[in-house]
């Protein structure tokens, strides 16, 4: 069937549904390809690359220098150091701002560059456009920050020597921890990605609401238990395999189980994306006022 005509008149309901799904899938893949092609050459991605690659670079430099500290040869201690690095730098800073850079520009960036109308003039359901753009952003974020998490984890254990690496990472609990950290990175990209995509649709300057979200996520540990649970970071931290000291002022809350945390973040993501589809249905092209 050519795309120039819609559906063959002879198609029954079931085959029409299949054709629609096939079309939507093709459109999502095409949007993804186009977005990734644009992103690769976009200046806005430079900051994101920096956030993802800076810890990898620093740990690579460290890995090349011989290590004398006995504490760092203790894999248990290294796991606590990594937990701190991951929760304080990767989650709260690199992935958070990386997702701001990637997802808030999916629509807002196109409005600023006055190119969104090219999408809106194609026969794509607006929901499909949201999903296509979100998935393309997600692929980029997972590749960068999932990869960065994986690389930093390996690079932190590498100087401990091959024996420690073999015993702790390959045959010990390290592999499970590494999987958990990569999983949490992916989940963070999923959750923060949806939030910042929505913010990019609603606000002319996404940095202001992003700063408010950052503030909320940052003071999360000081909040009463109920409020702590109205955040993404609470569920992500609950999934981290190694806890870090919360500090003297923290309000201690039991971590939420993975059975609630993972579906919880996914449910929130679905709800946020649903809001984004409602918003884009009403979207008009008025670049001059944007």
């Amino acid at each position: 069937m050519s795309v120039l005509e819609k559906y063959p008149e002879s198609a029954d309901e079931e085959s029409m549904t299949n054709l629609e799904w096939n079309l939507w899938l093709r459109q999502i893949v095409a949007i993804g390809r186009l977005e990734i092609r644009k992103a690769l050459r976009g200046r806005r991605m430079i900051g994101v690359y920096f956030l993802a690659l800076a810890p990898v670079f620093l740990l690579s430099v460290r890995a090349m220098r011989p290590l004398h500290s006995s504490e760092l040869n203790n894999p248990g201690m290294v796991s606590i150091i990594y937990a701190g690095l991951f929760q304080l730098f990767m989650l709260r800073f690199a992935i958070f701002f990386g997702c701001v850079g990637i997802f808030s520009n999916l629509f807002r960036g196109e409005v600023l560059e006055k190119t969104l109308h090219y999408y809106l003039l194609t026969p794509v359901r607006r929901e499909v456009l949201v999903v296509g753009k979100y998935l393309s952003g997600l692929a980029a974020a997972i590749l960068l920050f999932g990869g960065s998490t994986l690389a930093t984890f390996i690079l932190l254990y590498l100087p401990s020597g091959s024996q420690v690496f073999q015993d702790y990472v390959v045959r010990g609990p390290g592999l499970r921890q590494m999987g958990a950290y990569v999983g949490v990175s992916v989940l963070a990209c999923i959750g923060y990605g949806a939030v910042f995509l929505l913010i990019g649709l609603f606000f002319r300057n996404p940095m202001v609401p992003a700063a408010i979200v950052l503030g909320w996520e940052s003071i999360n540990f000081l909040l009463p238990p109920l409020l702590q649970k109205i955040s993404v970071i609470h569920y992500l931290q609950s999934l981290c395999p190694v806890a870090i000291p919360a500090g003297p002022f923290a309000v201690l809350v039991e971590p939420t189980s993975a059975w609630i945390s993972v579906p919880g973040v996914l449910l929130m993501t679905t709800a946020v994306l649903f809001l984004a589809t409602i918003k884009i249905q009403r979207l008009e092209i008025t670049y001059s006022t944007d």
């Binding site: 795309v3 120039l4 819609k6 095409a30 976009g42 190119t115 999408y119 003039l121 026969p123 092209i285």
Partner: protein
């Protein structure tokens, strides 16, 4: 010949406000296939009307259908519509070929079909040589042509073009106008907005004149001119004895002014009844054995109608 709803672009009492600011107000139009030009000064509502027609804006009030499909269903609506907008902006990093190919893929075209349609669109606007270059490096005229190719690439039934002649050199302009005329003859709806009134006049089957968000006139330009009774039609007659014609036409009640031309080879007649004037002229030619070089209406073109209805202030 009457057109069915499925063949028309219809605006039914459409208004669009940007907050307090009027875009267009109470527009009711039925646009038939062929070339239709939107004419009006800056801020008249041409681009608003085009953006409404292509679904980029939603009307504050009223309904719009394009070939029977309402604008609220972009997945069906956009299948029929190609829009070359006034925005001189392109996605970063794409070549001319990519720019057309990727949006065809987003439309749902398979690879082979998208490639074929891309090449056809590039050929149509003579951009094959520059197809592999980045759009960012194109001249203004090339950018205009690649936008046109992109708008045409999916072979739409309705082609909406906002100032499509901007930035084109005379040669490219002539080629593009030929293309529009060809598309119009093929039965497409070609909707053009342009400031270049003599070219609009040359190519349009009908015009829609806009001023301050209102449609002030629409239809075939000669019909529109014919209905403007407060402005007598000016007819230029080039002949060997203009003063003789002048003395005869002065006897007619509907002739309000006659001016002899400085070279003594013509006269300009203002009449409220051109048909009666032509009858008299025929009689004069036969009876006085007059040698007539040309008889042409001097002010039933888009430019004159524009000046009469909208005035110089609008230009």
């Amino acid at each position: 010949m009457s057109n069915t709803h499925q063949e028309l672009i219809t605006f039914d009492n459409v208004s669009k406000f940007y907050g307090e600011v009027l875009g267009v107000n109470r527009v009711s139009l039925s646009i038939t296939p062929g070339i239709t030009s939107l004419v009006g000064p800056n801020g008249a509502g041409k681009t608003t009307l085009m953006n409404l027609m292509t679904g980029l804006l939603k009307p504050t009030q009223g309904t719009i259908t394009v070939l029977g499909v309402p604008a609220e269903r972009p997945e069906d609506f956009c299948r029929n519509v190609g829009y070359c907008s006034q925005f001189d902006s392109f996605p970063k990093g794409l070549t001319g070929y990519d720019f057309i190919y990727f949006y065809l893929r987003v439309r749902g075209c398979l690879d082979g079909e998208a490639r074929q349609l891309t090449l056809k669109a590039l050929e149509g606007v003579n951009m094959m040589d520059a197809a592999s270059r980045r759009v960012a490096g194109y001249s203004k005229g090339m950018r205009q042509r690649i936008k046109l190719a992109q708008a045409l690439s999916h072979q739409p039934s309705v082609l909406v073009l906002d100032e499509p002649l901007n930035g084109l050199d005379p040669m490219a302009r002539a080629e593009v106008i030929d293309l529009f005329q060809k598309l119009g003859r093929q039965g497409l709806h070609v909707i053009i907005s342009s400031h270049i009134l003599h070219e609009v006049d040359r190519i349009s089957d009908r015009v829609v004149l806009l001023s301050n968000g209102y449609v002030v006139a629409e239809g075939d330009i000669h019909d529109v001119r014919g209905e403007m009774e407060e402005h007598p039609l000016q007819i230029l007659v080039r002949c060997d004895r203009p003063s003789q014609v002048a003395s005869r036409v002065f006897q007619l009640d509907h002739v309000v002014e006659v001016k002899l031309q400085a070279d003594g080879r013509g006269l300009l007649v203002k009449t409220r009844n051109p048909d009666q004037f032509y009858l008299l002229l025929n009689r004069v030619v036969v009876e006085d054995n007059l040698s007539v070089e040309a008889v042409t209406p001097a002010d039933d073109d888009v430019n004159s109608v524009y000046q009469y209805l909208i005035g110089k202030n609008g230009a």
